[in-house]
Every structure is written in structure tokens, then in C-alpha cells.
């Protein structure tokens, strides 16, 4: 049996009364984009839900893409049969046994039937149908126990005039808000584990992101750049297109190092990065700066350091992974597919020239004094902005291989 439809449940946006229509439209646009390679499939919107009519298009690749659209809470493959009790019973049983087969635990599965009869020509009432199906399934499938209040398996059956619709599985969606529904933000992407996760969390919260990466080429390698591009490419699996601003930071970094206060170098660098990010944010109409900082992880991520880092800019700096445990961040990184790339061993600019004991409690007055003497900093920041390179991700592979494949 193959599914004929996919039922999509929209998530948090049901909370937002007035914006709902606009939000649903955004999800629909994203769903339609997923369906582009599958021209026979159509989308139908209903209250708080959406139906894809597959019409022969394959379920698996579409489901794979749906699971990455923000704003979708969950979705279910829906199977259809004619309005005849024996057929409904067989179909229900086969769906239940397939689902049971995927389970690894031996414990009994709590189960219930929810049946709705909309077609009054159908002989049984909803309650009767529910009983008939429940009894049949319990008789023929092993490992089930009825629990109508907290079922793990909810067999949903709807008898309409056009046919009977049955589903049992619910696939968890990416959740969150649809892309761009909460505006736009710049994300500082370092190449580590945390910042791609921060970017993804921002995207899930309905932000479109402009990625900013600072590189110290040739002190850091081309591979370090490629790694960041690879991370950005991976994030585009959750968005249509993302821009990556590559900012040449070498000159600024060498200049700050000349100031001679090695223990404050990281603080000075991060302040410079914030200033640059804010200017990029202004130019790109972004309302926030997002970082992958995590409280206490390294010297630059203590409260006093964060104060010093934040001070030069007035845009809100959001730090989605600030309070997460490292393992939680790693788990998320694995889930979104950035972990393997993040742990590739290439130096980024922050680990270059780093002193043995960076300040954990940088003194703002000292910093202000130092910055007063860094008279060329402003022109170097401007130069960095002028020379930055903007890549549109996903970066097309050097070729699409259609000649070879």
C-alpha cells in the first residue's frame, strides 16, 4: 500500500490569530517548492491543516523534504480505500502492523480508534465503526492494548463520500515558525559546533538569516572557508537560499595585535566583529545579531566578556544556545547535519594568535583607552566591509554532473 495523501498539521502559528493566514501562506509556498519536482502532486489548504494529494508521486522523497519545513508540526501519510467495512478493516490492520513492525521495544502499545463517519450513506455510525475496527485490529494484531485516553497509536478513520481516509503514523515536523515570518537577522558563523545550531534555532523561530563569517586567510586555510560554506549549504536544507558574507579579517586582526595587550586581543577582536556585523545588519535590514555564544564555555564567554562584546552595538544580540549544555548542542548539531562538518579540524581566526591567558574579566575602561589609540580601526572596518565577498548558498557544486550521470 502506498499513501494517496499527506496530511500536514501546522504548528505554533495556530496561536497567532491575526497572522495565521499569512503564516499558512508561507508554509504553503514552502510546500509547493518541495513539490516542484513532483508535478502531479497538488496542495489543498484546510483550517490549520494542509493536504498534499500525491496522485502517484512518491511519498518518501516528499516526506523527507517536508520534515525540514518550519511551521509544520507533524504530518501523516494518508491511505484511502472504498467505503466498505471489510476494506477499511484490512487497510487499518496493515497500517497498524507496519507501524508495530518499526518498534524495537517489546512493551504493549496503547492504542485507540478514532472514526468519523461523514458519509451518511455508510451503514455504520461513527461509534459502531469505531467498535468494529477496534475489535478487528485487536483480534488480528499482537502487542496492542486499548487506551482511549493516552494512546501511542491513534488509528484515524474518516468515511467521506469520496472514500475512506485512514492514517495512523504521525511524523514529527521541524516545528517552529515559517521562514521569515519573524523578520531577518545576521548570524555570526564561526565554523564550530555552536554557531550553526544557533543559526538553525533562529531559522526555526521564523527568522531569515544572513550568515557572516570572518576569515584570516592566508593564516587560515581555504579549507576553513570551504568548511563554513559547507555548513551554510547544510543550513539551506531548511531554507530556500541563504547569503553568506565572507569578511576578510586578517588585516584588522594583525592591527589589533599591534596594540600589544595580548590578553585583551580576543575582546578587541570580538568588539570589531560586532561592529562589522551591525553594519552588515543595517545594510541588509536585519533586526538582530545572533551568535553561538554559550555561557562559560571559554574566556570570551563569561558575563563580563559578553558585556564588553555587546557594548559597541545597539541592536539586540540574541544567543540561542547561551544556556544549553554542550551535549544538547551536539545532539542538535547531529540532528541538523552540521556536526560532522563542524568538527573538521581547521583553525578559524579566533584561535589564531590567541594568548595563553585571555582576560575573563576585561576592564572596559582599559578597552576604551586602547580603542582611542587604534585610530586606523575605523578605516580598516570600512575596508573589510567594502571587500567582503557575498556567496549565495547553496553554492552550486562546481558542476551539476548531468553530463556524467
Amino acid at each position: 500500500v502506498t499513501p494517496d495523501q499527506i496530511l500536514i498539521r501546522l504548528g505554533e502559528l495556530t496561536l497567532k490569530g491575526k497572522n495565521r493566514h499569512r503564516f499558512e501562506q508561507r508554509v504553503e509556498t514552502a510546500v509547493k517548492r518541495v513539490l516542484q519536482p513532483h508535478p502531479r502532486a497538488t496542495v489543498q489548504r484546510a483550517f490549520g491543516r494542509m493536504y498534499i494529494h500525491l496522485q502517484g508521486e512518491p511519498y518518501a522523497p516528499i516526506a523527507d523534504a517536508l520534515s525540514r519545513i518550519f511551521g509544520i508540526q507533524s504530518f501523516s501519510p494518508v491511505y484511502t480505500c472504498e467505503n466498505e467495512l471489510a476494506l477499511i478493516q484490512t487497510l487499518s490492520l496493515s497500517l497498524i502492523t507496519t507501524t508495530l513492525a518499526k518498534r524495537t521495544s517489546e512493551a504493549k502499545v496503547k492504542f485507540r480508534v478514532t472514526a468519523r463517519r461523514a458519509d451518511k450513506a455508510f451503514a455504520l455510525t461513527s461509534a459502531e465503526l469505531q467498535r468494529e475496527l477496534g475489535g478487528f485490529v485487536l483480534l488480528h494484531a499482537d502487542g496492542l492494548v486499548v487506551d482511549i485516553h493516552q494512546p501511542e497509536l491513534d488509528l484515524q478513520v474518516e468515511v467521506r463520500e469520496t472514500g475512506t481516509y485512514v492514517y495512523v503514523d504521525s511524523v514529527k515536523g521541524a516545528g517552529g515558525f515559517p521562514a521569515g515570518s519573524n523578520g531577518k537577522a545576521v548570524v555570526l558563523l564561526s565554523g564550530g559546533i555552536d554557531s550553526p545550531v544557533a543559526a538553525w534555532l533562529a531559522m526555526r523561530q521564523g527568522l531569515r538569516v544572513e550568515l557572516v563569517h570572518f576569515h584570516s586567510y592566508p593564516y587560515t586555510s581555504q579549507q576553513a572557508k570551504d568548511k563554513v560554506i559547507a555548513l551554510g549549504n547544510q543550513l539551506t536544507k531548511y531554507a530556500r537560499e541563504i547569503r553568506l558574507h565572507m569578511v576578510e579579517f586578517t588585516d584588522i586582526q594583525l592591527y589589533l595585535k599591534q596594540a600589544g595587550q595580548d590578553n585583551l586581543l580576543v575582546t578587541l577582536m570580538r568588539r570589531a566583529m560586532m561592529r562589522l556585523s551591525e553594519r552588515i545588519a543595517e545594510a541588509e535590514a536585519c533586526g538582530a545579531i545572533i551568535t553561538g555564544e554559550n555561557l562559560g564555555q571559554v574566556a570570551s564567554q563569561t558575563l563580563p566578556s559578553l558585556t564588553a562584546t555587546s557594548e559597541p552595538v545597539s541592536l539586540p544580540i540574541l544567543r540561542p544556545v547561551m544556556m544549553m549544555e554542550k551535549q544538547e548542542i551536539i545532539d542538535l548539531a547531529r540532528k541538523i547535519g552540521t556536526f560532522e562538518t563542524s568538527i573538521l579540524p581547521y583553525e578559524d581566526c579566533c584561535t589564531l594568535f590567541v594568548p595563553k591567558s585571555p582576560a575573563t574579566n576585561p576592564n572596559l575602561r582599559v578597552i576604551h583607552k586602547m580603542e582611542e589609540h587604534l585610530t586606523e580601526l575605523e578605516s580598516k572596518l570600512e575596508l573589510a566591509l567594502q571587500t567582503k565577498e557575498v556567496l549565495i548558498l547553496p553554492l552550486q557544486a562546481d558542476k551539476n554532473f548531468s553530463d556524467l550521470l
Binding site: 500500500v1 502506498t2 512518491p58 511519498y59 518518501a60 522523497p61 516526506a63 523527507d64 496493515s94 502492523t97 507496519t98 508495530l100 513492525a101 518499526k102 518498534r103 488480528h140 494484531a141 502487542g143 581555504q222 579549507q223 570551504d226 568548511k227 559547507a230 573538521l344 581547521y346 557544486a397 562546481d398 551539476n400 554532473f401 556524467l404 550521470l405
Partner: protein, 406 residues
Amino acid sequence: MRHVLYFDHAATTPVYDEVVETVAVVMRDYFANPSSMHKLGQQAGKLVEAAREQVAGLFGVAAGEVVFTSSGTESNATAILGVARQFGATRGRHVVTTPVEHPSVLAQMDVLRAEGFEVTEVPVDANGRVNIADVAAAMRTETILVSVGWVASEVGAVQPVAEIGALLRAWPKALFHVDAVQAVGKLDVDMHAAGVDLLSASAHKFGGPRGAGLLLVRDGVALQALLAGGDQEHGRRAGTPNTAAIAGMAKALRLTLAERAAANSHVRALHTRLREQLAAADATHGLGLALTGSAGPVGSADLDAAHPGSAAGSPYIVHFTVPGLKAQVLLHALEQRDIFVSSRTACSSRDERPSPTLLAMGHSRESALSGIRISFHPSHTTADVDQLADTLVRVIQQLRKEASSQ
């Protein structure tokens, strides 16, 4: 030069010219290790992933469900041993298969028997097909795997895969492996629709290069890897990917499936023609030749839906026996006339014992020593088939005469 007639496409097929080109270009220009971090490695890696996407699309599965291997044999071993080692200790130690499987399946079953597993071989009928009721009867609560070939490689029997898949929905602990090496590019192979968990295929059976196979692993199915030592293929198959062969396989699959509908109807006609000519010649000349299987090739509806009720086999294989005439003798006599056929699967054809497949189908020992497999390619013409039938009849008559005069 005399016209050479190759009728052993079930053993291997000639490689598409376009695929030869792809393999050559990839070998030369994408030589870097696809797992390397540098640019050259990444380009090779991207090519492998593009090939994976293409293969996944053609099979109607997700890219993550495609594992590239080195051969159909490796795919079968990965599936069978992988399931046994993943679940043998916890779920049970019983496996179900059939006696007409390819040696690469049956040999894994021997490995499992040596490891203390019980293996049940479901009987087959005179057409080489299993009966769904017999499969059902073989199932036990401790069954962890059912392994059935979609098309039996020796006689071409098409097994009721979708029916078995439906049956196994009631056996949640048993995974379903299908060796589809002789089916891919010929039958409508939709693994998810048929309820299959693991599906093996091999590139060189559909115009691709040797050294490339694939195993489709349904999302959610865990397998212990056969080869350890690297996290290639998401840890499911260590070893540097064979970029050129993988790209060649993806291309060959695309080309084959594009031609499938036309190829099938052409080959069906060849199949019917050869069987009719052999049956007629046998009736006229008393050759003592027996066609294997009771009906003609599966029809177009059957091919597209892999119809479970059909008694006939794949149109790509015609199998017959000439009891009393050893297969090798006939094979070599045909070879002298530049006609190449096989006695059974290439992986077991040097074996001089009677064919286990034919014995399982109820043939006598004498008959099981005389099986000949003719396997077609869409490039064959009716003239080729006529020449084959004509030569076969003359050669058999001659060999029979020699045998009786001794």
C-alpha cells in the same frame, strides 16, 4: 568474422558506451578520495552524492536509503549477515529463504547455520515459485529475516514479493530482504510499495560497470556493517567509494529505466518466439527437450505491477532441460558455433553436480544436470532468436545421434 550471438545477459551485460565514457572521465578527473576534505576530494564526494540522489530518485526512495557496495554479492551478504548480527542475539535466530536463491544468498545461509541459526527453505513449485501459504507456514516468532530473490537467477521465476511483503506486515520482528539483481531494470521494482526492507542490486546486470552494487535499506532499519574501518556510507559500509563505478551505475540505471517499457515488450516477443519454436521443434523432431515453467513470460501488466499470481517467469530468461544431455556438452557445442549460453548462474556454473534449483523444482537428477539458460538483451533481434533456435535443434539432434551410436 562470424556473427557472435551472446545469450548470457543474466550473467553480465555489455556496458553502455555512454557509461564507459562516464567511467573513464570520472577515473581521470575525479580521482581524489571522496572522503578527503580538500577541494578535489569534495568534488569527488559531491559526484558520489549526486549519483546517490539520482539512484534514489529512480528507485523512489530517499537518498539516505541508498548504500553503495562493490557487488550484488556484497549487498546480499551485508543484508543477511547484517540483520543476523544486529538482531540474532535479541530477537531470534531463525531465517527463511528459498532453495532457488543465488549462491551469494545461500552461502550466507551456510554462514548463519554455522553460527547456530536455523534456516528454513520454503519449497518451490515446478515453476520455481514459492507458495505464499508455505512462506506463512515457515514463519515463527523468532524469525528475524526472510530473504527471497525477486527473479530466480537460474530459471527466471518471479516470486510473489508484494504478497510476501504484505504477509510480513503481521510479523513485525522479521525484516524482508529481496535480492533484486535480476529484476532491476526489468520489473517494476518499488521497494516501499512491496513492503521490502532491504533490496540488493548490481550494476553490471543493467549495462553498468562491474565493481558497483547497491543495497537499499529502508529508513529506520539498523544493520551491523559487514565492513568496518571507516564511516563511509554513514558507517554502513567502510571503504573508499568507487567513484567511477558508482557514477557509471547511476547512469546505466537511468538509461535502462528510460528504455524499460520498450525493451520489455520487445523481449517478451523474443521470449514467446523462442519458446514456441523450441516446443514446435521438440514435437516434430522428438528432441527430448523440456521447457521450464508452465506458461509464457509475464505480461506487461504483470511486469509493471510484478503481479503475484503469475506462474510464468521473467521474459528475459528462457530455461529448458534436455535430460540425458549434459549441459556443458551442449554449451560447448553451441560455443563452437559462436553462440554463448549458460548452464546456470555464472557463480555456480563450474559446478558439475546437478542444479539444486532444478532439484528443488522436482526435476530428476538427470534432468537437473541438463539445464540450459538463455538470457536476452533488448538488442537481440528475431533473426538472432531464429538462428539460436535453429542451431539448438540441429546441435541437439546431432548430440543425441552421437550418444545413441556409441
